[in-house]
């Protein structure tokens, strides 16, 4: 092989090429304005290759888009379906294409020429290869002077494609990174803003607890609670349809509307109706908000609310008994003038759970959703825990499963914490029943570990109370009933003795002074000495009397 002549020529090509390569590499690598740099590069490549035109096509989704061009026609923005044309072939095969007569090539996209008026004769096209595969192609058209591109031109173009590809993929990565950082920063700010709208956690046995776990940086869920001047606590939860910024903005708007309307202490149905009407005026089509809003009165232990398309509100008592209150109103923001019926429940010895569908939509290992039943099951198993640990345990359970949506939970704790019913019995008002009652009571106290001396005193006090009912309330033995209930509430024993006699005058039932030694009135004095507190009042349903007696249990081993 005679290598002299081509060798010399090759050397001269290389000599011309090396400085260009170095310059292009540097320019492309350092460029702050890639588009401009690319344009300059393509122009220089066209000149270097002695081509009439040059262009860079980049893969964007399923299209090859011209991002830089040099020559008589500016074809920037020209789009070819991925795989179409000679450019497409270079990308798909990831190999250089050298076509001497474009119009004879089956892949040639002739319609481009028709549109631009440029006449393509020969094509040389090199893929822009990266480690992740080709990202586009570098193309030169028509050797100046009517000649044809040859193998050396092909090798030269391939060499020139390398720094171009490198610069482009580097730039794309940098751009992506920059974009991500910017979005991240904005999301963090949005999240911070959202968090600042949520009320602070209240300590010291505050009956309302809540938390929000966003599935993304920002959340479409919110909760709120605040004190009203009359002692009630207003609460609200919402879940905006959709995720992302739209939902987040609507969430902020809806949360402030709910707070604004809630401060006035409107009835829950009016409260939601007002927010619904306000929201409807400026909500994007197809967006809506599911929400619950209401009040909890810590004195009466009653909660009242209205539910606009939010998941069922759950009441769970200490025995694990569950009651569901499904939504009776439609979501907010769909139509003005809608009605949101009021719902209520007493929370003595119970808790109210409100949660967004992020909780019920949590996925288990099998891919099924937890559902209302699943949540109920988890909550039931925790009914003996104090409210804070209960909420923490619930979150822990949920986190073991896959949380796919924003998750918001609120827990409203009823007045008496831990209630254990220890005894409930009914007996006729006859003295001969008393021995059996004492025995049952003593057993019940023994079961929870009340020591013998205290148990004896408590049994005595209850016996005294029952004796008084038989002698004074009923005026002597009879077949009427006496009911005894014993429960342990937050470490305190509560005895309730109920009769159906005419209402007693509590003022007449007073302990006598123990130093006054006489036979009568001793029973009440004994009750007074044994119990921490007692109270006689007409029964709530208006018939008979209810004597309530309380005794706090000290820690084990400690003399009360």
């Amino acid at each position: 092989m005679n290598a002299t002549a081509p060798g010399l020529e090759a050397a001269s090509l290389e000599q011309r090429m090396l400085p260009l390569l170095a310059e292009l590499s540097q320019q492309l690598a350092l460029s702050l304005d890639l588009e401009q740099t690319l344009l300059q590069a393509v122009t220089r490549i066209a000149a270097f290759m002695e081509a009439e035109a040059a262009a860079v096509f980049l893969l964007e989704d399923d299209w090859l888009v011209c991002r830089a061009s040099a020559g008589p026609v500016d074809v920037r923005g020209l789009k070819l379906p991925r795989g179409r044309g000679i450019v497409g072939r270079a990308v798909v095969q990831n190999a250089c294409q050298m076509v001497r007569d474009a119009h004879a090539d089956p892949d040639f996209a002739g319609n481009v020429d028709d549109r631009t008026g440029f006449v393509t004769r020969s094509v040389l096209c090199a893929p822009l290869s990266t480690a992740e595969g080709p990202i586009g192609a570098l193309q030169v058209l028509n050797k100046q002077g009517g000649g044809l591109f040859d193998e050396r031109d092909r090798d030269a173009l391939r060499l020139l494609a390398a720094p171009t590809a490198l610069a482009l993929s580097g730039a794309r990565m940098a751009e992506k990174l920059l974009e991500q950082t910017r979005i991240q920063r904005e999301l963090t700010m949005a999240r911070r803003l959202q968090r600042s709208l949520l009320p602070k956690r209240r300590r010291g046995g505050y009956p309302v607890l809540a938390l929000n776990l966003p599935a993304r940086e920002i959340s479409g869920d919110f909760y709120d609670f605040f004190d009203l001047p009359d002692g009630r606590i207003a609460f609200a939860l919402g879940d905006v349809a959709g995720k992302g910024l739209d939902a987040a903005f609507l969430m902020v708007r809806c949360a402030s509307l709910l707070r604004w309307a809630g401060k006035e202490g409107l009835a829950p149905s009016d409260w939601l109706a007002r927010v619904n009407d306000e929201l409807g005026e400026a909500i994007a089509a197809g967006m809506f908000v599911c929400a619950v809003a209401g009040y909890y009165d810590p004195r009466s232990g009653e909660a009242v609310w209205a539910n606009a398309g939010f998941p069922p509100v759950q009441r769970v008592d200490r025995e694990g008994e569950v009651a569901l209150f499904p939504a009776e109103g439609p979501p907010l923001g769909i139509l003005p003038g809608l009605v949101f019926p009021e719902q209520r429940t007493g929370l003595a010895g119970a808790s109210l759970y409100l949660y967004s569908d992020g909780v019920t939509d949590v996925r288990d290992d099998a891919g099924g959703t937890l559902g209302v039943e699943g949540v109920t099951e988890i909550v039931r198993g925790m009914s003996l825990l104090a409210p804070e640990p209960r909420l923490r345990a619930l979150v822990r359970e949920l986190r073991q499963l896959t949380v796919t949506d924003d998750t918001t939970l609120m827990l409203i704790e009823g007045p008496s914490g831990d209630v254990r019913r220890l005894l409930e019995l009914s007996f006729p008002a006859r003295p001969e029943e008393l021995a059996g009652v004492r025995h049952r009571l003593s057993e019940a106290l023994g079961r929870i570990g009340v020591d013998e001396a205290l148990s004896r005193e408590l049994v005595l006090a209850v016996d005294e109370a029952a004796t008084n009912v038989i002698r004074h309330a009923y005026g002597g033995p009879c077949g009427a009933s006496i009911e005894l209930r014993l429960s342990l509430e937050d470490g305190e024993l509560r005895f309730g003795l109920r009769d159906w006699a005419p209402c007693a005058d509590p003022a007449k039932v007073q302990p006598r002074d123990l130093s006054d030694c006489r036979p009568g009135g001793l029973g009440v004095a004994l009750i007074d000495a044994v119990m921490d507190a007692w109270q006689l009042a007409p029964a709530r349903d208006g018939r008979g009397n209810l004597l309530t007696m309380r005794k706090r249990l000290g820690p084990p081993g400690e003399e009360p």
Partner: protein, 108 residues
């Protein structure tokens, strides 16, 4: 189980009680104590076998104590069980009654 009997122990007339003294039969106890006080100058109520006593039972004892004092007679509680002592303490009556462990040596 109820037990209420009266027997003579030396100079003393003893009312011996047993079981749980409550409203169901405290009237019977009261009668026995008052009867004993009518018949004797020195009455002891033996409470060693009493497992429970309520205020109606205590009231019978208080009435006995007051009657004896009014008539210048002797009235003692003999060996009250722990259960009875607890109630006496609770009613602040443990210092009011004369309580003895044995009748021997207890001045009638």
């Amino acid at each position: 189980m109820k037990q209420c009997s009266t027997e003579t122990r030396g100079a003393w007339t003893a009312v011996v009680l047993g079981g749980e003294v409550d409203l169901s039969w405290s009237q019977q106890v009261r009668r026995a104590v008052l009867d004993a006080l009518s018949a004797s100058d020195s009455v002891a109520v033996d409470l060693s076998a009493v497992g429970y006593i309520d205020s109606s039972g205590i009231a019978a004892l208080v009435e006995g104590f007051q009657t004896a004092r009014g008539r210048g007679k002797s009235f003692v509680l003999l060996s009250p069980s722990d259960a009875v002592q607890a109630v006496l303490r609770l009613a602040r009556l443990d210092k009011v009654f004369r309580i003895v462990d044995a009748l021997e040596g207890a001045g009638a």
